[in-house]
């Protein structure tokens, strides 16, 4: 489809990467209770990878910035000084702000949670950072900028006894018969502003895109044109102009005339990274549709449909539930789409709809336990997926704060745990049984023991500690993932 070098198949990377712990933010002390509002609900790197944003259930957005890449002079300084430069990306806390507040929709008698569902970075301008954040209903456009702290030092009037409101009654400006001398009045002077070296990071909400969704927003995605973005809820996808918050256009609507006929909902949507007119969205039935925005104003017809047909006879009660796609991501070059359903990761070539190019089993050992997972609602957990910048590897999360990294070319997989020691626990294979460590599941959730399943090898899986959100750095082998309220980063 696109004729660039990046099109070439990813180099056969046979050797699995050696993942190491890099950093953790918001690490939990032993025995510390996790506050619900602190649980991370969204992670996103910006396009260059210089910044990382997380959102949490309390409606906050936290920004991190990369510290290991400095401009030349500083790097030289570092080299001159007897200091070892670290070779993997490191981030530091930059700032945080309250993006969303809990609200109440009086018309529908509905509480609107402040939880951040998705964050997307927009084009940087003038050294300021821009991002979109959304909860279930409202999308907000934020600008985060450093401001120098300024002080006003000299004024015409003693500020302490000036209480007027400028042009209040009895204080009118000189009218026509008041004459200004040619040279002006020497006694008037402009305020003197002294700016200090101190700076303040200020987050400003520039625009609020509200009242366009009847259902919960599950994704937002920027278009490559830099001026539009989409927001998707269960049944509809709307197109917005970043500059206009008063109107949006409905471009996909899967709502049947009669809600009882509803069989399928939209679970995720994303714009093609390069082609401004291509949009992908996934459904609860396990299909991914590509639509062409050029074809029609209302994109009800897809031009490409990806779905895997189950072998007849293998259907069970859970087939349809676990087929539901929880997340899709375009590869950087737009050639592939990565999708996550409950049991697998699938990689699709957008030019081949006969089936996925590759399927990676995430936690096959849970298949016998689908019934328990259904009982405690875990089967409806929405795991995200991510792909490395070069497209050669993919990753996704699982239970017990585990996540798995797969090599695109092979079936090789690495299982890591979101902790300071990621490799201490490998996925249980019959050949190499690993004893469960009681400390892994030291945080017992509200479901208590019911949420823990112990398999034949004595391994236990804790369904309350699930790793739903993770992101891969756009240019380097660095994964950021969320384990409850902690942000862990690993590099290779």
């Amino acid at each position: 489809m696109m004729g660039s070098e990046s099109d070439a198949p990813p180099p056969p990377s046979s050797t699995p990467l050696d993942w190491k712990f890099s950093q953790v933010f918001g690490e939990r002390a032993a025995g510390e209770e996790v506050q619900e509002v602190d649980i991370i609900s969204a992670i996103e790197f910006n396009k260059s990878g210089s910044h990382l944003a997380t959102g949490d259930r309390g409606g906050r957005v936290v920004l991190f910035e990369r510290t290991d890449v400095k401009d030349n002079s500083t790097r030289k300084d570092l080299e001159n000084s007897d200091y070892t430069v670290s070779h993997h990306p490191e981030f530091r806390y930059k700032t945080e702000f309250q993006s969303h507040e809990p609200e109440f929709d009086y018309l529908k008698s509905l509480e609107i949670e402040e939880k951040i569902n998705k964050i997307k970075w927009c084009q940087t301008a003038n050294g300021a950072l821009f991002l979109l954040s959304t909860n279930d209903k409202t999308i907000k456009f934020w600008k985060v900028q450093e401001k120098k702290i300024k002080k006003i030092s000299e004024t015409n009037l003693d500020t302490s006894n000036v209480k007027s409101n400028g042009l209040g009654p009895g204080l009118s400006l000189p009218n026509g018969d008041f004459s200004f001398p040619a040279g002006g009045f020497g006694s008037l002077r402009l305020p003197v502003v002294v700016s200090s070296q101190e700076t303040n990071l200020v987050a400003n909400c520039r625009r609020v895109y509200a009242h366009a969704h009847d259902y919960h927003i599950n994704s937002i995605s920027n278009n490559s044109d830099g001026e539009t973005f989409i927001s998707a809820d269960d049944l509809r996808i709307n197109l917005w102009n970043l500059e206009i918050s008063s109107q949006s256009f409905n471009i996909v609507d899967v709502k049947p005339p009669n809600m009882e006929d509803l069989t399928e909902v939209i679970t995720s949507a994303e714009f093609h990274p390069i082609n401004c007119n291509t949009l992908a969205y996934s459904s609860s039935k396990g299909s991914i549709r590509l639509v062409d925005l050029r074809q029609s104003a209302l994109c009800d017809n897809h031009f490409q449909l990806f779905e895997e047909h189950e072998a007849p006879g293998s259907r069970t009660f859970f087939t349809e539930i676990i087929a539901s796609i929880s997340d899709i991501k375009f590869s950087k070059d737009g050639r592939h789409i990565l999708s996550r359903d409950y049991m697998t990761l699938k990689l699709w070539d957008i030019n081949m709809n006969s089936g996925p190019v590759a399927t990676f089993p995430v936690h096959e050992y849970l298949r016998p336990k689908l019934c328990d997972l259904y009982e405690n609602d875990s089967i409806f957990d929405k795991f995200e997926c991510c792909q490395s910048g070069d497209g050669s590897r993919v990753a996704t999360g699982s239970y017990s704060n585990l996540f798995r990294v797969f090599e695109s070319g092979s079936k090789e997989a690495t299982t890591l745990e979101a902790s300071r020691n990621p490799m201490r626990r490998q996925v249980p294979t019959p050949a190499k049984p690993v004893r469960s460590l009681p400390s892994i599941t030291r945080v017992v959730g509200r479901r208590g023991t019911e949420a823990q399943v112990t398999d034949a090898n004595g391994n236990s899986y804790d369904f309350t500690t699930k790793l739903l959100h993770l992101a891969w750095h756009p240019t380097e082998n660095l994964i950021a993932c969320a384990a409850a309220n902690s942000l862990y980063m690993y590099y290779a």
Partner: protein, 587 residues
């Protein structure tokens, strides 16, 4: 703290509040920037105020927007055109702001200043600004630069001109689609200043690149440039360079591009001349009228009359009319509605025979359309057909359509039709109106919705103006006055309102004989709301009536009302009495 003389105090406050913590006060000070400048004098404005503004540009967008606007008319305050260049630096920094409306305003002000600057100053000061912005690090700056070239270019010497053309070409290939969009939308303006030889070569190649851009949003804006460029080129060059582009755009994969073509196409017809219009543009337009996408058909349908005006009637009948017929039964109501809003204008273009033969059936079918908007749009343009074929042929179908709209359950539809009643009355004539529509007009006075009652009262006034007081005396006044005894006070209020509107049209005699007695009687109403409205009406009637009448009838009534137990009634009555006295005194 310095002491400031008393008369300067307000200005001193204004200056101090340039840096107030309250944004409203800062905004207020920026709005008073010209006063500040005059108080400081030209020299200090140049040396202190302008640099001060350049340095303090990290304010809220609202303040920056106001600043950008004020600076655009600041030449006067810095010492005239010779010093205009000192205004460039603050505006240049405003061009970097990421809020689009601020940048646009800064660009607008820069253009305004640049256009007044002396040629040598433009080269010395303005062109460097343009070049700096065009080479800016952030896309926002480069976007701003695109809107300045048409001011910088004409004054530049040869070599600089070629440099500017090259820079513009680079902007059209910028990595950022935002910059390419800005370059595309400003291309027309820039091209208008470029010499014909370069227009045909460099500008056309820039244009061609834009028309092939990957981003639909850029191509979209390139379409807009088509018409502007077409008008600059000689017809034969236009045919050679623009025509193929527009014909291919008309078949673009993106409906939004085709939509833009549908909106612009008629403008190009003049630029290319009759022959290519017939051979290329008519077929392209016909395709757009039959486009798969309703949005494109809406745009095309909305331009059908403008397009036909350019064509000969034969061409219009042969090629466009069949499409119009199809569109009148289009599956999208919005397409039919767009068609209905312009189709009446085709009558004068096609002439009487063709209108009766071809258009009339379409009018009639649209008048029966199931969507009220379509019917309303036809009715709103009735005058255009009336001039060509007279109204008689339509009146049979009109009446049911009007009656149905008049009784539509959506009040906005009823409101819309009321707005057209005076137009209909003037087109249909008194006779038709008396028979059919008079009753409707009275019926609306008792509508459940206030806006309708209000519009109905206003409508009566307009009708009285249209047909004259004698007619109104016969057909409106008695019917209206009859309703004043309606048991519901809100309906009585509408009648009072209608009376006050009719009075100026009817003149002193009818007012004092017919209307005033009713008003006086109503002043005894038991509802205070009626009573204070009576007071207001009486106040309005005073200038119409002669003074003896006022003294004899109006005043006693108002005096009585001014002693009413209700406070509002007393208030309005005393107000009316006051104006009564004023008028009496001036007599």
């Amino acid at each position: 703290m310095a002491m400031v003389d008393e008369p300067l105090y307000p200005i001193a406050v204004l200056i101090d509040e340039l840096k107030n913590e309250d944004i409203q006060r800062r905004l207020n000070s920026i709005r008073g920037l010209s006063t500040i400048a005059r108080a400081l004098g030209e020299e200090r404005t140049r040396k202190e105020l302008i640099p001060f503004l350049s340095e303090n540009n990290d304010d809220e967008d609202e303040v920056l927007l106001a600043m950008a606007e004020e600076l655009g008319v600041f030449i006067l305050y810095v010492g005239g055109v010779d010093h205009a260049h000192v205004l460039l630096p603050p505006l240049e920094t405003l061009c970097t702001v990421e809020e689009t409306c601020v940048r646009d305003k800064a660009v607008e002000s820069l253009c305004r200043i640049g256009a007044q600057m002396k040629e040598s100053d433009v080269v010395e000061w303005f062109v460097p600004v343009v070049k700096r912005l065009a080479a800016g690090e952030w896309f926002t700056v480069r976007v701003s630069s695109c809107g300045l070239f048409h001011i910088a270019y004409p004054s530049a010497p040869e070599q600089l001109k070629s440099e500017l053309r090259t820079i513009y070409g680079q902007l059209c290939q910028d990595d950022m689609p935002m910059v390419r969009r800005a370059a595309a939308s400003n291309l027309g303006k820039f091209a208008a200043t470029v010499e014909p030889t370069f227009l045909k070569t460099e500008i056309m190649s820039i244009f061609n690149d834009l028309t092939n851009d990957d981003q639909d949003s850029v191509r979209l804006l390139a379409v807009e440039g088509c018409a502007a460029l077409g008008k600059l080129l000689e017809p034969q060059d236009c045919v050679a360079h623009i025509l193929p582009v527009i014909v291919s755009f008309a078949q673009d994969k993106s409906w939004r591009v085709r939509y833009m073509v549908a909106n612009q196409l008629y403008e190009l017809c003049e630029a290319v001349g009759p022959e290519p219009t017939r051979n290329d543009l008519v077929p392209a337009y016909v395709r757009l009228l039959r486009d798969n996408e309703a949005e494109v058909r809406i745009a095309a349908a909305g331009k059908v009359t403008k397009f036909c005006r350019i064509l000969s009637p034969e061409l219009a009948i042969q090629h466009i009319l069949p499409c119009v017929k199809e569109l009148s039964t289009d599956s999208s109501q919005h397409v039919r509605s767009a068609l209905a809003s312009v189709i009446m204008g085709m009558a004068p273009v096609l002439g009487k025979d063709a209108t009766i033969e071809q258009l009339l059936p379409i009018f009639l079918s649209l008048l029966k359309d199931e969507f009220p908007d379509v019917r309303l749009n036809i009715i709103s343009k009735l005058d255009q057909v009336n001039q060509v074929i007279g109204i008689d042929l339509l009146s049979q179908s009109l009446l049911p359509a009007i009656v149905e709209l008049a009784e539509d359950r959506h009040w906005r539809v009823r409101l819309a039709i009321i707005e057209y009643i005076p137009l209909l009355a003037s087109q249909l004539g008194v006779g038709f109106f008396d028979d059919k529509l008079g009753a409707l007009c009275m019926q609306w006075l008792e509508d459940k919705v206030y806006s309708i009652r209000d519009a109905a009262a206003n409508n009566l006034k307009r009708l009285a103006e249209e047909f004259g007081p004698d007619w109104a005396m016969q057909h409106i006044v008695p019917q209206v006055l009859e309703k004043v005894s309606n048991p519901h006070y809100l309906y009585r209020m509408t009648i009072i309102q209608a009376i006050s509107l009719l009075a100026p049209v009817m003149g002193a005699e009818i007012t004092s004989q017919k209307l005033l007695p009713v008003v006086i009687t109503s002043s005894k109403d038991r509802v205070p709301n009626i009573k204070f409205n009576i007071a207001k009406v009486l106040q309005a009637l005073i200038p119409i009536l002669d003074s003896s009448e006022v003294e004899k009838t109006v005043k006693p009534c108002l005096v009585e009302l001014s002693e009413d137990p209700d406070v509002d009634v007393r208030f309005y009555a005393s107000q009316a009495l006051q104006s009564c006295d004023q008028i009496m005194m001036s007599c």
